[in-house]
């Protein structure tokens, strides 16, 4: 906590998620080094950086997805609304209901489209009856911009959709549990430009209600969808700032080199 106080320029009242001196080791490998980062509410934060620099690792710390990796060790302080995410009292299941995740490769369950979206609400007992569940499923699909395309085939397999539709289905599935934060790890890397545009549009709309963290390898995408950008390099957070400032006036030579395409 003392570290947090020693960093005056961060405004912790606005921050939804804060990271203070977060370190991650995979066995011997030091994958994330002393990361301090604030993620603000109702903003899109983009994480950029060359491959292997620890972007996914950071993302997976926030919803404790790293717990599942055998030899992964996380130290430092990570908070969600001021509560320590790694506190013993925190229930991972509840945490993950508050922090949703969308993966690089669309991973719909081998179930119907309806059941895919209803999966989260069902396990969290969010609907009292079938009518409420239908309502949640419909609004989630609607907000993910998928309803029009699938409303006649809700009972068909989710795996039968196209890649872009599958990814939007996964987004619908994530927002159906009404999370506060949505983590997206390269959500568009498996999609064509049209599907990508749709997902980007969607992210922009979702910002109103959710806090979004997105990992991307596309500078253009980061510039288009995010308000803040964080640049990682070799496990260190090199620079973070407003997207416009990072892309027009980067402070650090490494950042400059990366966004102008000189390495990475």
């Amino acid at each position: 906590m003392s570290l947090a106080l020693s960093l005056p320029e961060t405004d912790s009242r606005l921050a939804k998620v804060t990271a203070r001196d977060v370190n991650v080791h995979y066995a011997e490998k030091h994958a994330l080094k002393h990361v301090d980062l604030d993620i603000r509410s109702n903003e899109v934060t983009a994480l950029i950086g060359p491959s292997g620099c620890g972007k996914s690792t950071f993302l997976r710390c926030v919803n404790r997805m790293n717990d599942m990796i055998e030899n992964c060790r996380v130290t430092g302080l990570l908070t969600l609304d001021g509560d320590d995410v790694y506190d013993r009292k925190i229930d991972v299941v509840q945490l993950r209901a508050r922090v949703g995740m969308v993966f690089q490769k669309p991973n719909p369950f081998p179930k119907s489209i309806y059941d895919n979206v209803a999966y989260g609400p069902r396990i969290h007992g969010m609907a009292r009856d079938q009518g409420e569940l239908d309502e949640i499923v419909m609004t989630s699909l609607e907000r993910a911009g998928l309803l029009a395309e699938v409303k006649d085939r809700l009972l068909e397999a989710g795996t039968g959709l196209s890649g872009g539709q599958q990814q939007r289905l996964c987004i619908a599935r994530a927002i159906a549990v009404a999370p506060e934060v949505i983590l997206m790890d390269e959500p568009c890397s498996a999609l064509d430009p049209i599907a990508t545009a749709k997902v980007e549009e969607l992210i922009d709309e979702l910002r109103e209600n959710f806090t979004i963290v997105i990992v991307t390898h596309s500078m253009q995408q980061a510039a288009r969808v995010s308000q803040r950008t964080a640049f990682f390099h070799l496990g260190e957070l090199v620079e973070v700032g407003d997207t416009e400032q990072i892309f027009t006036n980067p402070q650090h030579p490494l950042t400059q080199g990366y966004i102008t395409g000189r390495f990475g």
């Binding site: 997805m65 299941v93 945490l95 209901a97 369950f109 081998p110 989260g120 396990i123 994530a174 549990v177």
Partner: protein, 458 residues
């Protein structure tokens, strides 16, 4: 012994051919192997093959044909009155000739003694001829092939062609054996169905496969209604699956999803040892331990349990096939992509919710396939039921009674001295055919399901 020496000589020649071919190939380019079309060793194999293969094939063909030719010659040398004897007598006679010739048994008639001498000399002559012919073939092959060696000889292609023909030959052996078995099952079954109508066999409710010694004997006509056997097989397999599916599936889920890798590395092979225990060991375990246990338990509960019960055999068989179910299920469960697990955990599902609602449904086709394979294994299992389930062909659904199965009956039908054309022994072939068809269908369906499931994630 002589044959062994001949083979060794031929192989030595072939080795020599290899060295010569190799050396000649190298020499033909002045010692620069890069100018050769094929590596020098391929030239070596090429010569070795020309040297060894024709000669060995000749030997093989000779050995296959020799006995009948020799027999014909010996028989034609016998006196005319002997030659008109019926075929079986002739066979006996020839047998005697061979015994006299090979083991020095005293001949019963002078004619036999003469024939035996002729037999011996013929065989020696034949062997000498074979040795000469094959050695000539080997030397000819060696010299000819050696001449053919040139820098641009496609030795590699030729050698690989021969190797592939050899491989095809090996695999057709297996296929022809299977076809042969199926055909013999089929023909014998058809003979059986000439004696007993197929409808009676498939739908008859009474099984007592004896045949009369005298026509006026009591129960002179056997009954070949196989329904009690099918029912018994189904009952025991069903009990076995009731044991194996839950235990196997749950242990697979534990292994794949909960166990830490170290534990898994130790326990999984241990579980698979169950599949390696000889079935006869399971059999006496069932007959001597489990069956009495169930009987005593039954007595204390006031139930009458036969000392050879379907329950005991089924339970032990179930334990035997646990590893089938568990290791196949474990494979399909681990094949479910990690991304599905992460997707589910990412939505806040617990481990058990993820397993129940995502992983098992995703793996279900593969699991069903594994279970079907296990069923076909259970249906074909013999030893346990022979030892523990009894021989009484009861038509019952009560697992506490003794029942019998198709495999057990095949064993009892064929054990003992029987002519091979009585309906009693032929019935075994018909039962075998039914068993074969059922397990074949189960296997095909199961493999189809498993493969289809595999494709889905690749």
């Amino acid at each position: 012994m002589q044959l062994l020496i001949l083979t060794v000589v031929l192989l030595t020649l072939a080795t020599l051919g290899y060295r010569l071919g190799r050396g000649r190939a190298l020499a033909s380019t002045g010692g620069n192997p890069r100018l050769l079309h094929s590596l020098p060793s391929y030239h070596g194999y090429y010569v070795a093959m020309w040297c060894g293969l024709p000669a060995l094939l000749l030997v093989a063909a000779w050995l296959a044909l020799e006995p009948s030719v020799v027999r014909m010659l010996v028989m034609s040398g016998l006196p005319a009155d002997v030659q008109t004897l019926p075929e079986e007598r002739l066979a006996l006679l020839f047998n005697e000739v061979r015994l006299v010739a090979s083991f020095g048994k005293a001949p019963s008639t002078p004619a036999v003694g003469v024939a035996a001498e002729q037999y011996l000399s013929l065989r020696q002559l034949s062997f000498a001829a074979m040795a000469v012919v094959s050695l000539v073939a080997a030397v000819l092959g060696l010299t000819a092939a050696q001449r053919w060696i040139q820098a641009d000889l496609r030795a590699r292609n030729r050698v690989e062609k021969v190797v592939s023909v050899f491989l095809v030959g090996c695999s057709t052996v297996a296929i022809f054996t299977t076809v042969g078995i199926v055909l013999s099952l089929l023909f014998e079954s058809i003979r059986f169905f000439n004696a007993v109508p197929i409808t009676e066999f498939l739908f008859g409710l009474h099984w007592s496969p004896q045949i009369a010694m005298r026509s006026d004997q009591v129960g002179s006509s056997g009954a070949f209604g196989a329904v009690p056997l099918f029912a018994g097989t189904l009952l025991i397999s069903f009990i076995a699956m009731m044991v194996a599916v839950p235990l196997g599936l749950l242990s697979a889920i534990y292994m794949a999803e909960y166990a830490n890798p170290k534990f898994r590395a130790i326990v999984k092979p241990l579980l698979e040892v169950l599949a390696g225990i000889p079935t006869v060991v399971y059999g006496f375990f069932a007959a001597l331990t489990v069956a009495p246990f169930f009987r005593d338990l039954g007595i204390s509960l006031g139930l009458s349990v036969a000392s050879e019960s379907a329950l005991a055999a089924g339970v032990v068989m179930g334990i035997m096939i646990i590893p089938f179910v568990s290791s196949l299920s474990d494979d399909v469960i681990t094949a479910v992509p990690q991304s599905l697990r992460e997707g589910s955990f990412g939505l806040g599902a617990t481990r058990s919710e993820t397993i129940r609602q995502v992983i098992v449904p995703a793996a279900l086709p593969g699991i069903v396939g594994g279970v079907l394979l296990a069923v076909s294994r259970a249906i074909g299992e013999t030893m346990i039921v022979v030892m523990a389930a009894g021989l009484a062909a009861n038509l019952t659904a009560n697992p506490l009674e003794a029942v019998t199965t198709v495999t057990t009956q095949i064993v009892t039908l064929l054990v003992g001295d029987q002519e091979f054309d009585s309906p009693k022994t032929l019935a075994a072939f018909a039962l075998g055919l039914v068993l074969f068809c059922v397990t074949l269908v189960l296997n095909v369906v199961a493999l189809h399901i498993v493969n289809k499931y595999r494709e889905k994630y690749d």
